[in-house]
Symmetry: C2
Subunit: 340 residues, 2 copies
């Protein structure tokens, strides 16, 4: 009886103190890299509405799901997706293992090192290279290769590792949502296994919260009877466009409360998020900052950029439906973590 | 400065008090429905080894993944899988919507209500029924149908809802592992969307932690332009046998530290779990209690039971590899939550 009373008192004390600490924390600006404006305001308002128990828009913790596109939303996608760079740089290793490929296109062009010729490779050529470099090995070997590459490979413009080219303001959104009880997911058109290899260290997002384009694997045994999984050249989920809500249903099984994207490939994910009841947050990153990052899509008057496909139509849909467009130029105080 | 000091003091106090409360809790038996014996001992030892920071077998919290088969491991699978009961009982609604099916097999047999004839339906007949009752509707409609059914449908032997026929000792293992920082997953041969409809309420396992046999969905718009997903009769993942580790890689992306199963369909999941480094826990539920539940598989000398396929070969593999076999009869003080 005494023990029970004691425990109750302790629990009450802990709760009281936790609330106090929470109060102190809440007073700090959770989004210091954002300029005051409608975009920052929309995020803060959404978090307040959905986490305040007295709000009519309160969302129970278990339903707090937020999904983020990666390329162009969390980090740089210009002038080429990081994963495509990985695949191109893996070609020499693939050719070393299968020398007969040296004289076969598109491997021949990649081996030539001629950047202009490589830039002219067709989508079909790229697919051949992706299949050759992303399948045929064990999931452990692939994971180790990507981890090794991502630690040393550098972007050509900034001469920094790709993982340093994440957007600081978006990292703050990830942290702010997590601190507010949201599970943050990456929902990417990129390869699920590729992104999983660095997502935890780079974004604080564990492998099980990365949804991406996924191939099948095949279970088998090595010569010592030890089981392992081999990556197969068989597409299970093309996590782009309609594939994003389909992938979200497959992998999460709940409709997101908040979704962040930047191109037409994210349209359906945002529509699907918006179609739910209660508070919802839909945001699009507009690349309108040629100086600090890039300007493409609607920002420079082109209907579609070379890599991103943030078409004018999606921009108009966002405006019509009241989704929030984030202007990199106006809404972000700094772009990268290394910016002053 | 004063504020900082204050916050530090508060944080220290909170930690101190939390540890005290944790200490009180830890003194209680986390597995009260288990008899003392090698099975209970194996679970407790595994948790101690992997959560004690000073242990050489310590596992960082983010790597604590435990996977559980459902049918026959977490709840009764005899004499027929609950999901098959659902599909059979949905046939009248399907026939009402498409009256032409009334005279077509296997629907005709199911509509006859003749239990003996139904028991003789072939696997192919059952597949036809599964496809007709598990696809063609929106994911929301399906979820609502399952939720409605599972609240009222009853098992024939105990005359209780299926969700009351979960094994109390296994519910304790789920809770104990979660309290020890493990993420608990269901990895089932059953339908992913079916199990997701009740897993949170029944096991405390959220939809995103249910891996199961999964079909594709198709994104589209209703007449008001509202997007929705339709369940398609297209198999994406057959989450049985080799499909279990393949599904674990697809949906979780980490090798489990602990895995629980009961039939040959779980063999590869247990092998895959065992093949990792460090502390691993592999357990098989043996159905040897005809009195309180059922006896089938190796327990009654049959090579395979009608529903389960816990073959003698798997039982032998478990013995050889040091996996722990849980004897329902000897290891469990009570089987169901309603047992005295």
């Amino acid at each position: 009886m005494t023990l029970q009373l004691k425990r109750r008192t302790i629990v009450a004390l802990v709760m009281l103190l936790t609330v106090s600490v929470g109060g102190v924390t809440r007073a700090q600006d959770p989004l210091p890299s954002w300029n005051d404006g409608p975009a920052k305001q929309a995020i803060v308002q959404f978090v307040r509405d959905t986490t305040d128990k007295s709000s009519p828009k309160f969302v129970p913790p278990e339903e707090r799901i937020a999904t983020f596109d990666q390329d162009g939303t969390l980090w740089v996608e210009h002038p080429m997706y990081t994963q495509v760079m990985y695949c191109l740089e893996r070609v020499p290793a693939v050719v070393a293992a299968k020398p007969e490929l040296k004289h076969v296109e598109p491997f021949k062009t990649v081996m030539s090192g001629n950047r202009e010729a490589m830039a002219r490779l067709s989508m079909k050529d790229l697919e051949t290279i992706l299949m050759a470099t992303l399948s045929g090995m064990s999931v452990e070997d692939f994971n180790a290769e990507v981890k090794k590459w991502i630690e040393t490979a550098k972007d050509h413009r900034w001469k920094r590792p790709y993982t340093e080219l994440t957007y600081k303001p978006m990292q703050e959104v990830l942290q702010y949502l997590r601190a507010s009880g949201y599970k943050t997911y990456i929902v990417t058109g990129g390869g699920q296994d590729f992104v999983r290899a660095y997502a935890e260290r780079t974004y604080g997002i564990p492998p099980e919260q990365v949804v991406g384009t996924a191939g099948g694997t095949k279970y088998g045994y090595d010569k010592n009877g030890r089981p392992f999984l081999t990556k197969e050249p068989k597409l299970l989920l093309n996590d782009n466009n309609a594939g994003k809500p389909e992938g979200i249903h497959l992998m999460i099984g709940r409709r997101p409360r908040a979704a962040f994207g930047n191109t037409a490939g994210d349209q359906q994910m945002l529509e699907y998020t918006a179609a739910g009841d209660g508070a919802r947050l839909m945001m699009l990153v507009l690349h309108d900052d040629a100086n600090r990052e890039y300007a493409y899509g609607p920002a420079n008057g082109l209907p579609d950029s070379k890599v991103g496909t943030f078409s004018q139509a999606l921009y108009d849909e966002a405006k019509n439906k009241g989704w929030t467009v984030i202007s990199m130029k106006n809404d972000w105080k700094r772009v990268f973590p290394f910016d002053p």
